[in-house]
């Protein structure tokens, strides 16, 4: 009898049918995650914009329209330090990490022993806590640290702490992050490299092309979708840089704003100065920028591919 009931249910269409039950259970199973995403991801987009139109400090103040954006437009610390540093950082770190990542990928893609070990070793800095890596970097780049000691033995004298000097702080962070992120970029490129069909290499070998020529004329151009994907991901990551500036430069992005980034500035305005309306405006501007980059990528190249 139970079988008969089940059969009737399956063919029936109304409430209580198998299909309705499945749908209800489906909604039930995704209800918690969906509520979570709506509350903590979708809703905050609109709420951020709403907050940005108020003079909102500890408590919600009067509606000020576009005033926060106008203030931001004339904010010299924002433009001449936060934005400038972020752009300089991105302009250097993106090509550096791409070059380093591609080099590592090509090298570990050779058919040699211990590949597993090398790939793992190169990837690991990407996985370690940024706080720990920053602490180690501060130690190594301290005035009497390992790096200056090595420089001394090589005949160069440098006695300042690299992160403590206005002129070297940001470049040091660029070098540090090019290193830690290169492992991730390596994996992206490795996937792209392995998608290149073998026969093009065989054709090149028959033509007698050397290793460097093969790389320059074949591998590099064929990696174009990979380059583009990696570049976009890197740029989006770079304009959101926060950790190293926060850890090394402190909340103010010191010394003298030299490591202040857009996100650190936003953090300071919100958590340090309790200017929520203003900080929300910074967030909206940053989001618009990142969203535009993503959109341009989609328009120009359709759906980007990882492999």
């Amino acid at each position: 009898m139970a079988v008969a009931v089940a059969k009737r249910r399956r063919v029936g269409g109304g409430l209580g049918s198998e299909r309705t039950r499945e749908a209800l259970v489906g909604y039930g199973f995704v209800a918690l995650p969906m509520a979570f995403f709506l509350l903590f991801f979708i809703f905050p987009i609109g709420y951020a914009f709403y907050i940005s139109r108020y003079n909102w400090q500890i408590f919600k103040g009067p509606f000020v329209g576009w005033d926060n954006y106008r203030t931001l437009y004339h904010d010299s610390v924002f433009w001449s330090h936060a934005v400038r540093n972020t752009l300089v950082y991105a302009a250097f770190v993106v090509p550096l990490q791409m070059a380093l990542g591609l080099t590592l990928a090509v090298v570990v893609n050779q058919g040699i022993r211990f590949r597993t070990f090398f790939r793992a070793a190169f990837y690991f800095p990407s996985l370690a806590a940024s706080a720990a890596i920053a602490a180690i970097a501060i130690y190594i780049l301290a005035s009497d640290g390992l790096f200056n000691t090595i420089l001394h033995h090589l005949g160069y004298e440098h006695s300042n702490a690299w992160f403590a000097q206005q002129s070297t702080a940001l470049p040091s962070i660029i070098g540090l992050n090019a290193w830690t992120t290169s492992g991730t970029i390596m994996l992206f490129y490795l996937a792209a490299l392995q998608a290149i069909p073998m026969d093009v290499y065989e054709a090149a070998a028959i033509d007698g092309a050397g290793a460097w020529r093969t790389f320059r004329k074949i591998t590099f151009p064929l990696l174009k979708p990979g380059h583009f994907f990696v570049a976009v991901v890197s740029v989006i990551g770079a304009v959101q840089m926060f950790d190293q500036s926060f850890l090394i430069g402190g909340a103010s992005g010191g010394p003298n704003y030299s490591t202040l980034t857009v996100v650190l500035y936003l953090y300071n305005q919100a958590i340090g100065n309790i200017k929520f309306g203003y900080a929300a405006a910074v967030g909206v501007v940053l989001f618009t920028f990142i969203f535009t980059v993503t959109l341009i990528q989609r328009l120009l190249f359709g759906r980007a591919e990882v492999t």
Partner: protein, 318 residues
């Protein structure tokens, strides 16, 4: 990024190791190539060992310093500690509270990992297997959240955790307390789009026959999920668990926004605070760094292959 097509090989070999890759070596049959290949491989070895050494030196140096005395760190260069001591660790644990911070990190990362495993597997099962109107739209919405940067969410979430949610909870009769603390950090990371995506993709690859059998058994959907699907989803659960744990163990941003009470600091926030306050007391600082790194290193060495799954959706963080 097109997440749909970036489906990672969850049960793949270690770090994309399949095959010989695009190496041009081997049976080209061209005379003289053998020697060129050998030279090339020798160069590759040399470069790799050199780079691997460069990558390893900072970590080894920090381990070496964590076993030194403070006096030893300023006494000029020596590869190994002149006097081995664990006082750096002792100080880190007791004087600078890293024992407490380690516990806090474990609680936060552990809670978020467990909740991701449950919510993502249940939701992933529904998105992969159950038919309900609007399923595709809802799933696209989930993937869309990957494009929303944390920075945009900072102010709204902060205000929600200070005001709204505590007052809602207060209406339900629970005590009305701010969530700008450890509970808030956990609450806003209960599940991630990445976790949900990975689980759904994995469930899609499981053959349907087994569920059909369960259906004939008249087992409910939850029972099918728990008794049939979950036991088969080991690799996906491992990947989600490992990636979530690694991400939240290392995380700086949300803890920096939400943790204000020192007793709730995580290791990264503890390190940030230490750097600001006692910068040149190197042995405990390096001990704290080793403490932050070692659990992830162990997980990485044991479960390497699952980490690859994450790169497709994780992006590049500085």
């Amino acid at each position: 990024m097109d997440v749909e097509r970036a489906q990672p090989a969850l049960v793949g070999d270690e770090l994309l190791l399949e095959g010989e890759g695009a190496s041009t070596k081997g049976s080209t049959g061209i005379p003289g190539r053998e020697r060129g290949d050998r030279i090339r491989r020798a160069i590759a070895y040399a470069v790799m060992f050199l780079v691997a050494a460069l990558f390893a030196i900072p970590f080894l140096w920090s381990v070496s310093t964590s076993f030194r005395t403070l006096a030893d760190t300023v006494a000029g260069f020596s590869l190994l500690p002149r006097h081995w001591t664990t006082s750096g660790y002792h100080e880190a644990f007791h004087t600078f509270n890293f024992g407490k911070y380690t516990l806090n990190s474990a609680i936060i990362a552990g809670a978020i990992t467990l909740s991701n495993l449950f919510l993502a597997s249940l939701g992933g099962y529904a998105f992969a297997r159950l038919k309900f109107p609007g399923r595709e739209v809802l799933f696209m919405l989930v993937l869309g959240t990957l494009m929303i940067p944390d920075q945009l969410r900072l102010v709204p979430i902060y205000l929600m955790l200070v005001n709204w949610i505590p007052s809602w909870v207060g209406h339900l009769g629970w005590h009305n307390a701010s969530l700008v603390n450890r509970n808030g950090v956990i609450l806003i990371q209960l599940v991630s789009a990445t976790s949900l995506f990975l689980m759904r993709q994995y469930f899609l690859t499981i053959p349907r026959d087994l569920e059909e059998a369960a259906k004939l058994d008249a087992a409910g959907y939850f029972k099918t999920y728990r008794k049939v699907m979950l036991p088969l989803a080991g690799p996906a659960l491992a990947a989600v668990g490992i990636l979530t744990f690694q991400g939240t163990w290392n995380a700086l941003f949300w803890p920096a926004v939400l943790l204000q009470d020192k007793t709730q600091y995580t290791i990264p926030i503890g390190i940030a605070n230490f750097i600001g306050a006692y910068q040149t007391n190197w042995p405990p600082l390096m001990a704290a760094s080793v403490l932050a790194i070692v659990p992830i290193l162990v997980i990485f060495v044991v479960f390497q292959r699952y980490f690859v799954a994450g790169i497709a959706s994780a992006g590049v963080k500085g």
